[in-house]
Symmetry: C2
C-alpha cells in the first residue's frame, strides 16, 4: 500500500474484502460500490488511524472497508422508490433503476451483512478494536444512521436543534464512526478519542449544512427550512472554526483532516 | 431462566436485547418481532447448546437473539411489494402494510444491525464464539440466505438439484446457523459440529419441502415444480430417516431436536 491516502487505496481495500460471486445481487452490490464515490468516510478513518498511530494497521483497513460497505448499503436503500425515490446517483442510474427494486433491497442487505463479516476478520481479542466495532454498529443502527433516516422521513423539523439532530444522525453518525474507529484502532486514549468524536459531530453537521446549500431545491428536510442561506453560511464558518480549535488540542499532524474540513467549505463557492 | 426451552424463554431473551426507542422504525421492528413467530431457529440453537454443553450459556442466548433478529428482518424485506408482495404474515398485516414501505425497509435494516450489535456483546475472545459469529453471518449473507432469495427471484428451477439448492440457502442456511452456532457456543468438537451441520442441511431442506406441500398454490419456486406430491412426500421421509441416523451418532440427548424433526413431518398430515 502506498503512503498517501486516496481513492485508489480505498478501492484496493474494498476489492480485497469483496466476495467472489456472479450472482445478480453481487453484481448490484459491486455496481453501487464502485460507481464513483468520494470515499470520504473510509479516507477519514484511515487518515485518523495514521495520524494517531503513525501507520495504518490491518484493523483500520478492515474498518474502513466495513464503513464504506455500510455507507453504500444506506445509499442503495435511500434511493428506493419508497424512500427518497432517486433515479440517479453519482451521475449514473441508481441501483434499483439498473437492477430492479428486489435486487437493490437484497444488495443493500448483503452489503450490511458483508460489512460485519469483514469486521469479524479483525483482531476481536484487541479491546480497542472490539470497542470500535461496537461503536460503528451503534452509529449505523436504530439510534444512529437509521434514526437519521427515520427523522428525515417521519418527523417535522421546525427548529435549528431539530435540523441539527437530523443532520447529526443522517450524516454525522458515520463520520463519527470514521474518526472514533480510526482512533480506537490506532490505540488513542479516551481523551483524544472524545476530542475526535467532537470534531466528527461538528464536521458531520457542517457537511450536511453545505449539502443543503448546494441542493436547496430538494424536497427532503434541510437546514434551509429553519434558517436563511446567509445564516447557514455563517453557521458552517462557525462550525469550521470550532473544529480547527478542537484539532489544535491534539498532539498529532491532522493536515489531511483539516484539508477535508476546508474542502467542505470550498464546495459552496 | 426456566429449564425448558419454549417460546416464552426466547421472547424473554429477545426483549433483553431489544433497544429502548419510541421511534416509528423501532415500533415496526417490535411489531414484526413479537407477532407470533414459532421461534424454531432460536429454539434449535438453544436446544443444541444445551444438548452439547448441558446448560445454556450467555453466548448461546446472544446468538439465539441475533438469529431471530436476522430471520425477522428477512421476513420483513421478503414481504415487500417488490419482493414476494405479501400483505399478511402470521395472520396479521405484514410490516409494510402496517407501517408503510419506507419504515419496513428501515426496520429490516435496523434488525440486521441489531443482530450484530447483539453478537458483539458476547465473549469475542472465546474462539468458539468468534467462529460461531462468523458462521452465522456467512449463513445470512450473499453466499447464504440472501443467495437463497436471489435464486428464488432471479433463476429458473428445473431439476431436483436446483430446487434443493434454493431450499438449502433460503431456509437451510439459518437452520445451519442454529445448530452449528449452538454447538460452537457449547464447545462441541469439529466432528460433532460437522454432524450437526449435516443434520441442519437435511432439516432445512425437509422443512422447505413440507412448506411447499402445505402451500402448493404459491407462485414462488417450489419442489413441486420438479417432482410430484407423492415423490416429495417420500423425499421428506427419506430425509427424516437420514437425520435420525446422523443424530444417533452423537453422544448427546437430542430429544428436543428429534421432536422438531417429527413435528415437521406431522405438519403435512
Amino acid at each position: 500500500m502506498k503512503n498517501s491516502i486516496g481513492i485508489e487505496i480505498v478501492d484496493e481495500i474494498l476489492r480485497g474484502y469483496f466476495p467472489n460471486s456472479n450472482d445478480k445481487v453481487a453484481q448490484a452490490m459491486q455496481y453501487s460500490l464502485f460507481s464513483g464515490g468520494k470515499r470520504i468516510r473510509p479516507m477519514l478513518l484511515l487518515a485518523t488511524a495514521k495520524a494517531v498511530g503513525g501507520k495504518i494497521n490491518e484493523n483500520a483497513k478492515i474498518m474502513a472497508a466495513a464503513l464504506e460497505f455500510i455507507h453504500t448499503y444506506s445509499l442503495i436503500h435511500d434511493d428506493l422508490p419508497c424512500m427518497d425515490n432517486d433515479d440517479v446517483r453519482r451521475g449514473k442510474r441508481s441501483c434499483h433503476m439498473q437492477f430492479g427494486e428486489a435486487a437493490a433491497v437484497l444488495a443493500g442487505d448483503a452489503l450490511l451483512n458483508l460489512a460485519v463479516e469483514t469486521l469479524f476478520k479483525g483482531s476481536l481479542s484487541n479491546k480497542g478494536y472490539a470497542k470500535a466495532c461496537q461503536f460503528m454498529l451503534k452509529m449505523s443502527g436504530i439510534n444512529g444512521m437509521v434514526r437519521g433516516q427515520s427523522l428525515d422521513l417521519f418527523t417535522e423539523t421546525k427548529t435549528v436543534e431539530e435540523a441539527n439532530d437530523v443532520a447529526l444522525h443522517k450524516t454525522g453518525d458515520l463520520i463519527r464512526a470514521a474518526l472514533v474507529c480510526g482512533a480506537l484502532c490506532a490505540g488513542a486514549n479516551d481523551e483524544e478519542t472524545e476530542i475526535l468524536d467532537q470534531v466528527a459531530i461538528k464536521l458531520g453537521i457542517c457537511y450536511q449544512a453545505v449539502d443543503d446549500m448546494l441542493d436547496s431545491n430538494k424536497c427532503e428536510k434541510s437546514f434551509l427550512d429553519v434558517m436563511s442561506e446567509r445564516a447557514l453560511k455563517d453557521y458552517t464558518l462557525k462550525l469550521t472554526d470550532e473544529i480547527k480549535a478542537l484539532i489544535a488540542k491534539l498532539p498529532y499532524d491532522m493536515t489531511f483532516i483539516e484539508n477535508i474540513v476546508e474542502q467542505n467549505l470550498i464546495r459552496t463557492k
